[in-house]
């Protein structure tokens, strides 16, 4: 019997007590494998695992499992994301068996953005099960070797189970309880929504620590460097559940023309430094959206290199 639940690199790094560092890679809107490989190369050696998004913002892209396999070929460890929007429980379970069979060991369980956001708003939404039930299903498949209907699985998939948490969505008071629920359902690690409002996040983490949740699960703080003032404004106004304080927008503006990106990176690095010291935080999830080539620099400047070998 292995001492690990899945044996993924991410699990090993976290279990060994290292401060984890995960990245993110959005699959192409097409079959542009070369572009995907190029993005992956920027992340190689910089992070412990790479999230591969699943039709994020409900825009059709190369499937997350297929892109995850390409990352595996490139020598990266994928964190395969799955949303409940597009699959019923049959497809969900068969995809889980499929990715595990091909060597994927981490999986992030999400509800998914509603299709109304995306480029196929005419689609039927599935939501046969929700993210909480998905977490529970992956855990039951792994630990009890059973499908959702209770039938035995012939060689169960052993995945390191991830879940998301958005401390900035409403109602704030309930968010910590929902996190607790996800952990109870089977989440091994949590990646939070992009954090900008540090005051609110500190308050949230205080509640997490008070409830002892950080001892039951690894919590990775979500960081997305702002590339421009426009991006900050867009995130503040247009992205539901995103909390971008005016002070940050002003700070980016104050950096002067052509310097907002550098200021955004500086803010991200300051955040990472604080997260390293924050009680209950086990690592950082860096979502450098379409900015993979800047990850090596950010990793270096944030003192995250070299990544541990466990």
């Amino acid at each position: 019997m292995s001492e690990y639940k899945s044996g993924s690199n991410l699990e090993k790094v976290l279990k060994a007590g290292h401060f984890a560092f995960t990245g993110e890679c959005g699959p192409p809107q097409g079959a542009n494998v070369e572009k995907l490989r190029e993005k992956a190369q920027h992340l190689k050696g910089m992070v412990d695992a790479v999230n591969v998004t699943d039709n994020q913002t409900a825009v059709v892209r190369m499937s997350s499992w297929a892109a995850s396999l390409i990352l595996l070929q490139e020598g990266l460890e994928p964190n395969f994301q799955m949303v409940c929007r597009d699959r019923n429980r049959l497809a969900i379970q068969s995809d889980i068996l499929g990715v595990y069979s091909h060597g994927i060991r981490n999986m992030l369980c999400l509800s998914g953005d509603h299709q109304k956001f995306g480029n196929h708003p005419q689609a039927k939404n599935v939501y046969d099960i929700d993210s909480m039930q998905l977490i529970h299903a992956v855990k039951t498949m792994r630990d009890e070797g059973k499908f959702l209907n209770g039938e035995q699985i012939d060689v169960p998939p052993k995945l390191f189970i991830g879940a998301a948490c958005n401390p900035f969505a409403d109602p704030f008071e309930f968010r910590v309880y929902r996190l607790a629920k996800k952990i109870e359902a089977g989440a091994d690690f949590i990646q939070t929504q992009c954090i900008y409002n540090m005051d609110k996040f500190r308050e949230f983490m205080k509640r997490v620590v008070d409830m002892g949740l950080h001892e039951k699960c690894y919590i990775l703080a979500g960081v997305t460097p702002m590339k421009s003032v426009g991006m900050a404004r867009y995130m503040a106004k247009q992205v539901p559940g995103m909390d971008v304080p005016d002070s940050l927008i002003k700070r980016l503006q104050g950096a002067g023309k052509g310097k907002a990106a550098e200021e955004g990176i500086r803010f991200a690095i300051e955040q990472i430094e604080e997260f390293k010291e924050m009680e209950g935080i086990a690592g950082v999830h860096l979502m450098a959206i379409e900015w993979e080539h800047r990850v090596p620099e950010i990793a270096e400047r944030a003192g995250m290199l070299p990544r541990p070998k466990v």
Partner: protein, 222 residues
């Protein structure tokens, strides 16, 4: 009630423009209550069709009838003596109406004049809101009497998702986040523990997912 809205008159006109005698049939049930398919609306639609015919240089005879209900064979009989005189029928009932008419009068051409929207009720004058998805296994008591299957955009049983913002759903600022309502209500009532319980995957066999549904009450059927 079943809430419906009238199809655009242009669409209805396109359906019936090649016929000379058209019968508009309303329903005194739900669609009368939500002001789209009662006797009054039958009259209005009939007039609009006559005007459209006039404008297009043709004569169209438009008859009017409003049945007690279009979801009951007994009342579908009410038009048996006149329906044969018409080339086309526009039913302004919910989606049940044109089907019951089509089944009872297979020779007639039946067209739907309404788009059936949802099961819900009036929340203020002129505003209707969805409340029930007809899943066949009611569980609203777990959620403070509010249905997340019908009212959450993702039908989450363990919400709210990360898109809930200021009491609104991520899909639109016009849509209330029902999970926000559920959480606040149960917190106020000191029943938060109920929401901390994991709700397992729903059995959808009783919903439309299990196939078209029939209900038989043995004691009434025989």
């Amino acid at each position: 009630m079943i809430v419906a809205e009238q199809k655009p008159i242009r669409e209805i006109w396109e359906m019936v423009k090649d016929f000379n005698k058209v019968l508009v049939i309303g329903c005194k049930g739900c669609v009368t209550v939500c002001n789209v398919g009662g006797a009054k609306e039958v009259g209005v639609l009939a007039s609009l069709l006559r005007i459209a015919a006039n404008k297009n240089g043709k004569t169209m005879e438009v008859g009017e009838a409003t049945l007690e209900r279009q979801c009951d064979p007994e009342y579908i009989e009410e038009v048996k003596d006149i329906i044969g005189e018409y080339d086309a029928v526009v039913s302004i009932a919910c989606g049940v109406g044109p089907q019951f008419l089509s089944e009872r009068y297979p020779q007639s051409r039946i067209f739907p004049g309404l788009n059936t929207k949802f099961m819900g009720g009036a929340v203020e004058h002129g505003v209707w809101s969805e409340r029930c998805a007809g899943c066949g296994t009611c569980v609203v008591h777990y959620f403070g009497g509010l249905c997340p299957i019908a009212r959450c955009s993702k039908s989450l049983l363990n919400g709210p998702c990360g898109g809930s913002s200021g009491g609104k759903c991520e899909i639109s600022k016009e849509v209330d986040c029902v999970w926000d309502l559920i959480v606040r209500k149960l917190m106020e009532q000191g029943r938060l523990d109920e929401l901390r319980q994991f709700r397992p995957a729903k059995d959808w066999t009783t919903a439309r997912d299990g196939g078209p549904r029939t209900m038989i009450r043995e004691e009434l059927a025989k």
